[in-house]
Amino acid sequence: MAETTSLRDAVAQLVHDGDTVALEGFTHLIPHAAGQEIIRQRRRDLTLVRMTPDIVYDQLIGAGCAKKLIFSWGGNPGVGSLHRFRDAVQNSWPVPLEIEEHSHAGMANRYVAGASGLPFAVLRGYRGTDLPRHTDTIKTITCPFTGAELAAVPALNPDVSIIHAQRADRAGNVQMWGLVGVQKEAVLAAKRSLVTVEEIVDELTPVPGQVILPAWAVTAVAEVPGGAHPSYAAGYSERDNDYYAYWDSIGRERDSFQRWLDEKVFSQEVAK
């Protein structure tokens, strides 16, 4: 059964230094509040996994939480670059950042393999690109039936996966809907999982197209209203597009980023 707990306690219990951690959410339902709690608890040497590292990973990387990033597209969507990510890759600031780079199709299939209990996934991908020369988790495999050459990528099994969803009930069953990205796979692939939700309700009412994660497939649930901001939660909030543009001015320089960290993250204790 999923434990219902506070965000602070959940991160303290589930995320350890040196862990491989995935925070997923494809534009929609990105667990920003959980990312900032990881920064606040000063986790170090994390291997961060995410298909689209955007603002929340720029924050984690800039705060020095990560030693490695496994990803397929890193940018501030519709705005430009992630300057903290760039600074870490190009100048090793605040600490060097190792990268393991894939395509979306490769990452999605790595989670699928992880969730399926398989050691690797097969896809028709990467051929002709320079990615396999730099990423040793991309190999070629021959189909035993047709002889076709395909790409093989190893399963991703994070120590902990964190996602944000709309609702959970008191038992810890989780309901999410709208753009569900790769979140279900990320949770099922992980050893431990945390789902932050907009609200905890007595009873879940069915919603068209919903995904349910049963309580027994989730480690912990924490109620964090607005926990996706500046991303959004369909049915609860709109995406804060201005914030994505605003982040460019914060993240661009080390000083402004440091000030932002002190004012917006370290000074804000999340209620127990």
Binding site: F26, T27, H28, M51, T52, F71, S72, W73, G74, G75, P77, G78, S81, F85, R86, V89, Q90, E101, H102, S103, H104, A105, A108, N109, Y111, V112, L123, R124, G125, Y126, R127, G128, T129, D130, L131, H134, A148, E149, G178, L179, V180, G181, V182, K184, E185, G209, Y232, A234, E238, R239, N241
Partner: protein
């Protein structure tokens, strides 16, 4: 002009894999002008989105709210893109070379310590491999139009005709490149990109100036007809709607 030219390249009920920015503007413009039944697929997991305004990102809620179906990201790539169910893939590029290979990963020869670190691959390598055709939309300059890309993120035509077949890539690769100056197409014999069309008011000399290789110009060079009143109105409406 670039959005209008890109919109005109789309027709009928084609299934289009759409990225944010120019491709999304062009696809939505086409849907509002001459191609009402165009099927828009976004990698965030929406099939058949019919947004009433320009989405602010590929994961804008309006894309899910107006879609025929909302699916997971693994499903987008495995069930819909990989088997060749998508007609046109629309890609941008930081660098594009004379054979239509695309770089969105790093600028500079050294991957480990790049001059500029770009966002990376995203969905592009498999879009370039598996869509029946690929249209590239990119602003043309000597920085973006290079002899050879520093990093092949998405395979175009390799070093010439036949390279895609050798690798077993199912799609035809880049068949059209639309820039702010004109339109290029691969030469049927060599697969090298050739200037086939220039936008009104642009000279061939200007295009050569903005190309990092010795550009071949098609003998039957045409001029892009200027935007029609209907296209301009639809574009303005699209940009104004929020």
């Amino acid at each position: 002009m670039m959005s209008v030219a890109a919109a005109r390249a789309l027709s009928g009920g084609q299934r289009v894999f759409v990225g944010i920015g120019l491709p999304s503007t062009a696809a939505n413009l086409a849907r509002r002008t001459h191609a009402a039944d165009l099927v828009l697929v976004y990698e965030s997991g929406t099939l058949g989105s019919k947004p009433t305004r320009l989405p602010a990102s590929i994961g804008d809620g309006i894309l899910a709210d107006t879609a025929d179906a909302v699916i997971s990201v693994p499903e987008v790539f495995n069930y819909w893109l990989q088997p060749g169910r998508i007609d046109i893939g629309f890609l941008g590029a930081a660098q594009l070379d004379r054979f239509g290979n695309i770089n969105t990963t790093v600028i500079g020869p050294d991957y480990a310590s790049p001059k500029v670190r770009l966002p990376g691959a995203g969905g592009a390598p498999e879009i370039a491999a598996n869509c029946r055709e690929v249209y590239v939309v990119v602003r043309q300059s000597r920085r973006s139009f290079v002899e050879q890309v520093d990093f092949i993120t998405s395979f175009g035509h390799g070093r010439g005709k036949g390279d895609r077949e050798k690798l077993g890539l199912p799609g035809a690769g880049p068949t059209l490149v639309i820039t702010d100056l004109g339109v290029l197409r691969p030469d049927p014999g060599t697969a090298e990109l050739v200037l086939t069309q220039i936008h009104e008011g642009v000279t061939v000399e200007q295009v050569r100036e903005a190309t990092g290789w010795d550009l071949t110009v098609a003998p039957e060079l045409t001029t892009t007809p200027p935007p029609t009143e209907a296209e301009l109105t639809a574009l303005r409406e699209l940009k104004a709607a929020r």
